[in-house]
């Protein structure tokens, strides 16, 4: 029985699952390497963003309590430590967003599975570029005035 494999053409030349003695078969989407680590990161960032979202809806709801209450709580978001936390939050969101597009391409683009590894590095590259645009500006806002 032949097992359909995904990945680069180079991988497809490796032996079939049924004949290989390797403990880690080549060319699976989620088992090992880029496919697995992108999945792990997608979960971790997703959970982190979800819990932030819960808190963020609650802190925003304070605008219905009083201007004073809202300003007191939102003021804590403007401290240096929280400023660094916001870098982490935005980093998580940007990764989750770009890797989400990668997942959609794997699902719907005919060549998606073949290029899933390359797309992981594209995601990392776009993440770096986005963060280079965001982090300096944000840190200047947080650490000045």
């Amino acid at each position: 029985m032949s097992v359909k494999t995904v990945g680069t053409p180079e991988q497809s030349r490796e032996p079939d699952l049924s004949t290989t003695t390797s403990r880690r078969p080549a060319g699976t989407l989620y088992r090992g390497r880029e496919g697995m680590w992108s999945w792990v990161l997608h979960r971790i960032t997703g959970v982190a963003i979800f819990f932030f979202l819960l808190v963020h809806v609650l802190d925003t709801a304070l605008v219905r309590v009083s201007p004073e209450a809202y300003n007191a709580v939102i003021g804590t978001y403007q401290t240096p430590i929280m400023g660094l936390g916001e870098v982490g939050l935005v980093g998580a969101i940007v990764f989750h967003a770009f890797n989400g597009l990668r997942i959609i391409l794997i699902d719907f683009w005919s060549k998606g599975t073949r290029y899933q590894r390359v797309m992981f590095y594209v995601v990392i590259g776009l993440w770096v570029v986005t963060m280079l645009g965001f982090v300096p500006r944000h840190l200047i806002n947080v650490f000045s005035h």
Binding site: G46, V47, L58, T60, S66, N71, G75, Q78, V90
Partner: protein, 152 residues
């Protein structure tokens, strides 16, 4: 030697063929559709709130009052709230389904997620649409209101 029959991987767990709406399929589609919309909504939200002007330092009651005086941002934020809460809740449900080891724990956790999502969507929607940028406040808080509010 005994022979064992192993079902092929995609054989449904139940014996009878399932009928009705395939909710898992629609959940799968929802994650992808809402994900693309959320990318636009959240990147826009982050850009306007963290990158423009003084960024996070400029956020206060008056800032929110200015934004939510505009129906555009009310709709933007409400859409973002609904799409993100359901997207996040469904993602958390997927993770609980993967790791919860007993059906009871799974039910408790999925129930807690569902309850949080419903409560926060209702709370958030109520806040956006009952928000008054110029509320009646004690005199010592008057300076916290947006500049367009009439003087007390």
């Amino acid at each position: 030697m005994t022979s064992t029959t192993i079902d092929s991987p995609r054989t449904p767990a139940g014996s009878a063929k399932r009928r009705g709406v395939n909710w898992e399929k629609w959940g799968w589609i929802y994650m992808r559709v809402s994900g693309v919309v959320l990318l636009v909504l959240i990147f826009g939200h982050l850009f306007v709130n963290l990158m423009v002007g003084e960024g996070v330092k400029a956020i206060d009651f008056a800032f929110v009052g200015g934004k939510w005086s505009d129906p555009f941002w009310k709709v933007w934020d409400t859409l973002m709230l609904w799409l993100a809460m359901i997207h996040g809740g469904n993602g958390m449900r997927t993770i609980v389904n993967d790791y919860a080891r007993s059906p009871r724990l799974r039910k408790v956790l999925v129930g807690a997620i569902a309850a949080s999502v419903v409560v926060l969507i209702l709370l958030g929607t109520l806040v956006v649409f009952t928000f008054d940028p110029c509320p009646v406040v004690p005199a010592d808080q008057a300076h916290l209101l947006p500049s367009f509010c009439p003087a007390p």
